[in-house]
């Protein structure tokens, strides 16, 4: 499961990520479940964080940073993970743009529901585009499955995000690595939502960069997977479409 780190939190912080940390603290038995979980970090949240930090060998500063997040992450449930990803999307919209932030969010949602995402190169692929799916979280919440391959899933994330079709086919349900490769522009350093290609033309595989040196790769039934983009030796290059 991917539980993205959003930002540093401290007393007075407000947002759905604060609520998500409260849920995780409750799951970790540092807070009682109750009806009063708000989106604001109050004094009790600080106390709970301090206790959690003490028990996990962290500096007890009562603030929520990447190190505390790394220890607490395993206590988030899927709802909490979704809240963190939504908050990350909100924060990223200002820096990387609304479309790329949404595409990355959808890729994370797909990863977090990997059991419902199948791999196929048959006519069942491009299901996101063909069905006009607008939000994968809602699609999976209804226990719907999804049939995609590497290029069709990447295309689908772009489709939901309202980005241009990386195949330049106006989302007609077609496209593969060969069409992805001849559109957009080559970039040397990846930004979130850039697509990475493997092999040589018409290329064997494509992944979507999600930040933090990681990409989401849907190349087999066991996918989507989170990995370093350079996990295989035939990485070719990155392309950008915005």
């Amino acid at each position: 499961m991917i539980v993205p780190y959003t930002r540093a939190l401290h007393r007075g912080s407000k947002g759905i990520d604060v609520l998500a940390t409260k849920r995780a603290l409750a799951h970790a038995h540092y807070r009682r479940w109750g009806f009063g979980f708000t989106k604001t970090a109050g004094p009790r949240w600080v106390t709970d964080i301090r206790k959690f930090q003490k028990d996990h060998g962290l500096k007890q500063d009562g603030q929520y940073g990447p190190k505390t997040h790394a220890k607490l992450a395993r206590y988030f449930d899927r709802y909490g993970a979704r809240l963190m990803s939504l908050k990350k999307k909100q924060l990223q919209q200002a820096t990387i743009g609304r479309g790329p932030a949404e595409a990355v969010h959808q890729a994370i949602v797909a990863y977090n529901n990997a059991g419902l995402v199948h791999y196929t190169q048959s006519g069942l692929r491009m299901e996101i585009v063909r069905r006009g799916i607008k939000d994968l979280a809602k699609w999976f919440a209804a226990r719907n499955s999804l049939y995609e391959d590497c290029s069709s899933s990447s295309t689908g994330f772009y489709y939901i995000a309202g980005m241009p079709d990386p195949n330049d086919l106006h989302y007609n349900g077609q496209g593969f690595t060969g069409t992805i490769a001849v559109h957009g522009r080559r970039v040397s350093t990846p930004a979130p939502a850039d697509l990475g290609l493997y092999g040589s033309y018409p290329y064997r595989h494509v992944v979507i960069y999600v930040g933090g040196g990681r990409c989401v790769s849907h190349g087999s039934e066991s996918g989507p997977k989170l990995t370093s983009p350079y996990y295989r030796s035939d990485f070719s290059h990155w392309r950008r479409y915005v």
Partner: protein, 65 residues
């Protein structure tokens, strides 16, 4: 019920790795996958008509091949 979730519906430790996607030191586990997933070479003939030879040539020229 608490909101949409039942009381006590705590995440069960399934051994599933948890990744935090932070640029800083803090990823819970190394997410590298093994093997070389992904091979759409059989898909290429099916869709080859979608790309003109001109587009392919331009792309290959850009790639310096």
């Amino acid at each position: 019920m608490i909101g949409r979730f039942k009381r006590g519906e705590a995440p069960v430790d399934t051994g599933e790795p948890v990744y935090t996607l932070t640029d800083e030191d803090g990823d819970a586990q190394d997410p590298y996958v093994e093997g070389e997933d992904g091979d759409n070479s059989e898909l290429a003939p099916q869709y080859e008509g979608l790309v003109s030879q001109e587009e392919i040539d331009r792309h290959l020229a850009e790639e310096g091949k």
